[in-house]
Structure formats: structure tokens, C-alpha cells
Amino acid sequence: MHSLKANTINEIEKIWHRRKTKVFLLLTLLIPVISTLLLSLLKNKTSIVWGLGGDLPMLMLNLFTFFLLPMMLSVTAVDSFSGEAAARTMKLVLVRPITRAKAFAAKVLALMVYAAIYLAMLWIVSSVSGWAIAGEGLTGGFADSVKAYPAAFLPMAAIGLLSVFIAQCFRNGSGALTTIVFVYAAAKLLPLIWPQVSAWSVFSYSDWHVLWTGSGASAGKLFSSFFFLLAYIIMAYTAGLLLFERKQW
């Protein structure tokens, strides 16, 4: 297990060294703060009553899970797989005492760690700025966010793993990223024409966390959605691992 731990730390460190990671973390800090300031201003000017302090974490979660977070996870996945293949740095890991299965697991674990960090940071910053800037107490919306943020991790993990699979089908990062953006846009738009598609598309579950808010969905609905997402995660991981194991460097 030492090699898995060592390479997971390495992968986390490599992702941290990339400029786009820091830019995204900065966006995660700035967007909730700027949004709070703007919404507070709007409230003062128009007297529209917002439940801002408590609702902001959910508002930000909806915004980030719709586009920003899936994109950032996809970019990270592309950099870690097709990006490293193009830069010919993948073999730096593969000639060390670590099996391919563990090297793959370490890359995926690092991606998941960043998904959790982004979500945790977003929750903390949006909660604090909602409370500190808007000056409102903790409402029911805040309580919802405590359940919704951990729940949002699951669809993000599924989308991240699907990106890992797609990224490995390409030898360069730009081709992989273009395909992922195309797949994501198609998956979001297709249900408008064929509503049935949404039942089978993992991208339609990016707002799964909403089911956990308010009075919530039935236990049966939560249960079936959970296993649907879990099945996607297992399938995407297995397919990604198969590709990774077969690659020749």
C-alpha cells in the first residue's frame, strides 16, 4: 500500500503545481463573495427579500455543479492522463515500483480529493460570506446545504471518472477536452428533445443534491439514484482502468 499512498500524494502535489488549479480555487473563493455583495446591493436597492445568508450555499452549489466543477474536474482528468501522455511524463511513474492498477487508482484518488476540496471550500466560503456580508443568520437553506454538499460529491465523482475514461482515448489534451465538452453539452441538451434520455444520463444527475433539500425525495428515489450513480462510477472506473492497463508507453 505504500506505493499507492506515495503516488496519491505525488498526484495531489502535481495537480497543485498547475496554475489552472490555483485559478479555479481562487474562483471558488471569489464567486460566492462577489455574488453576495451583488445580491446584497440588489436587496437594498429593490427591497426584494432574499433569504441570502442561508440560501447562498445552495445557490452557489447549483451554479458550480452545473458547469464550473464538472469542467474543472474534466480539465484535471485530461491533464493527468492525455496531458501526461502527450508530455511523455507518464512513464516517470510507471517505471517506479508501483503497479499500473495502483498508479491509476492514485490518479483517480487525487482527482476525488480535489473534488472534495472544491466542494468543501465552496461551502465554507459561501456560508461565511452569506452570514458575514449579507448579515443574515443560519436559515433552513443552510441546514439543507449541510446535506446537499456531501451528496453533490457523488455525481461529480461520476462525471470526473467519465472524463478520465474519455481522456485516455486521446493522445493529446485538446482533443480529449473538446470531446468532453461536446459530450457534456450534448448530454445537457439532449433531454430537451428526448426527455427519456435524462433518466439514463449521469449528467442529468449533476443536481442530485437537490433531492436532499427541503422535505426531500422519498427514500426509494434517493436509494435508486444513489445506486445509479454508484453503478456509473464503477463502470467508468473499470473501463478507465482497462484502458490504462493496456496502454503501451
Binding site: 503516488n7 505525488n10 511524463t89 516517470l92 510507471l94 503501451q248
Partner: protein, 245 residues
């Protein structure tokens, strides 16, 4: 004498018809084994198969007695390598690059990274980003990375790539010193026969995907030939034999 590396009947066919066929050889403890051949002879393919980067269609490789296909981690635990080109994470410093590699080895002292950087002459530039390095500096970093884990077996693919005359001499001296003082075993693939002739005690000659000759340098060069003359004669013999077949 201990056999550190066993390559048995390794075959790999690429879709373009090239590859390597039935390559077999052993590298013993303390050897500096020169793997010689013209460009495209299959040297890098064999090295990549040894390191598990390419899976052979047939054949087996054992390192320190461990089969690479089944016990990769054990096989690679005491192996260092510089393969094809000296690539590194360009957005990180040389020191940070080595730090990543060092994490795989539990018993490595923290001072080891500075030691190898000193050894290859990169110590003054260790905190600079690799993206600003010259080809020769990257090659030195690749060599530092190969030597980092105090390996018992080191595989080097064209280690003189991008190095000036002084750099090439430094690499030769480092190899000879590690071999003599620490008993490190080397397998060095190169087309620079003169360079290899100065340090190798054994050679294997690759041509068109076949290992056409192996043996001790002293025995093979008894006729007074240089290594270059000997290798060229062997390749010509192989070509003639094929024409007559």
C-alpha cells in the same frame, strides 16, 4: 555470479511489421552491459519491455529473480532507469521532480536528492523550473532520477543524448565509479560505440530486431579490432547471411 536481469525469448511485433524477435540475454551482477545497434534496431523496445512499459507478445523478463509481468513492484524496487528521452514535469523544479520519485522508496534519506543533484552537477539550479533547462541539463536530471534510489541495476537508454563532451565524460566516469565502488550493474543502450567501448565489459548487438551477438568485450575484440569495426562486421555478416538464405 548472480544474474540480475534475465531476458528470455522476448518477441514484440508492431503493426508496421517491425519489432524484436526472440531476444534472450542475461546481465550479471557487476556487469556494464552495452546494448549496441543502429537506430531502429530495437534497443529501446527491449528496454521498454524490461521495464514493463510495453508488454511482449511472447517471452519473459525477470529482474532480481522477480518476473516483471507478475511481481512488478518487487522487480522494480532496486531498478533505476533513464528511458528514451529525459522527460520531467516541466512546471516543477528539479528538486521537486526528484522528491516525487523519492516518495516511492521508504528507506531513502532526505539528503539523497541533494547528493544525486550534486553528483550530476545540477545542485546550483535545483530550485529552477525544469522548463528553463537545456537538453543537457534535462539529461543530467534524468540521470539523477535514475540513480536516486541507490539502485542495484540501472538501465540507461542513450544516456549521452544532448550532452557536450565534458558531460559525456562525466556520465562515463559516474558509471565507472558506481560500478567499481558500489557494485552497481548497468545495461546501457546506445549507438555511440566508441563511448560504450570505453566502459562496457559485455555487449549485445541488436540489428533489425534481432540480437545477433553477445559476449565479453575482451574476448570479442581479440583480433585487434575496435568495437566499432567489430559491430559493423557483425552487422554485415548478418546482412550477407540473410541475402544467402
Amino acid at each position: 555470479m548472480d544474474t540480475l536481469l534475465e531476458v528470455q525469448d522476448v518477441t514484440k511485433r508492431y503493426s508496421n511489421g517491425r519489432g524484436v524477435r526472440n531476444v534472450s540475454f542475461d546481465v550479471m551482477k557487476g556487469d556494464i552491459f552495452g546494448f549496441i545497434g543502429p537506430n531502429g534496431a530495437g534497443k529501446t523496445t527491449v528496454l521498454k519491455i524490461i521495464l514493463g512499459l510495453i508488454r511482449p507478445d511472447e517471452g519473459n523478463v525477470r529482474i532480481f529473480g522477480h518476473p516483471v509481468a507478475e511481481a512488478f513492484e518487487q522487480a522494480m524496487n532496486r531498478v533505476g532507469c533513464l528511458i528514451e528521452t529525459a522527460d520531467a514535469y516541466e512546471y516543477m523544479s528539479a528538486y521537486d521532480n526528484l522528491k516525487l520519485s523519492a516518495r516511492f522508496y521508504l528507506d531513502l534519506p532526505k539528503t539523497r536528492m541533494d547528493q544525486v543533484l550534486e553528483q550530476v552537477g545540477l545542485a546550483p539550479y535545483k530550485h529552477e523550473r525544469v522548463s528553463g533547462y537545456s537538453l543537457g541539463m534535462k539529461q543530467r536530471l534524468g540521470l539523477a532520477s535514475a540513480l536516486l534510489s541507490n539502485p542495484g541495476l540501472v538501465l540507461l537508454d542513450e544516456p549521452a543524448n544532448g550532452l557536450d563532451i565534458e558531460g559525456m565524460a562525466d556520465v562515463r566516469n559516474t558509471i565507472l565509479r558506481l560500478s567499481k565502488e558500489q557494485g552497481v550493474t548497468f545495461l546501457i543502450a546506445s549507438h555511440l560505440m566508441h563511448d560504450l567501448g570505453m566502459i562496457a565489459n559485455k555487449i549485445g548487438i541488436m540489428h533489425n530486431g534481432n540480437l545477433i551477438r553477445t559476449g565479453n568485450v575482451d574476448e570479442l575484440l581479440q583480433g585487434g579490432n575496435t568495437l566499432e569495426q567489430f559491430v559493423l562486421a557483425q552487422i554485415q555478416e548478418e546482412k550477407d547471411a540473410k541475402q544467402h538464405a
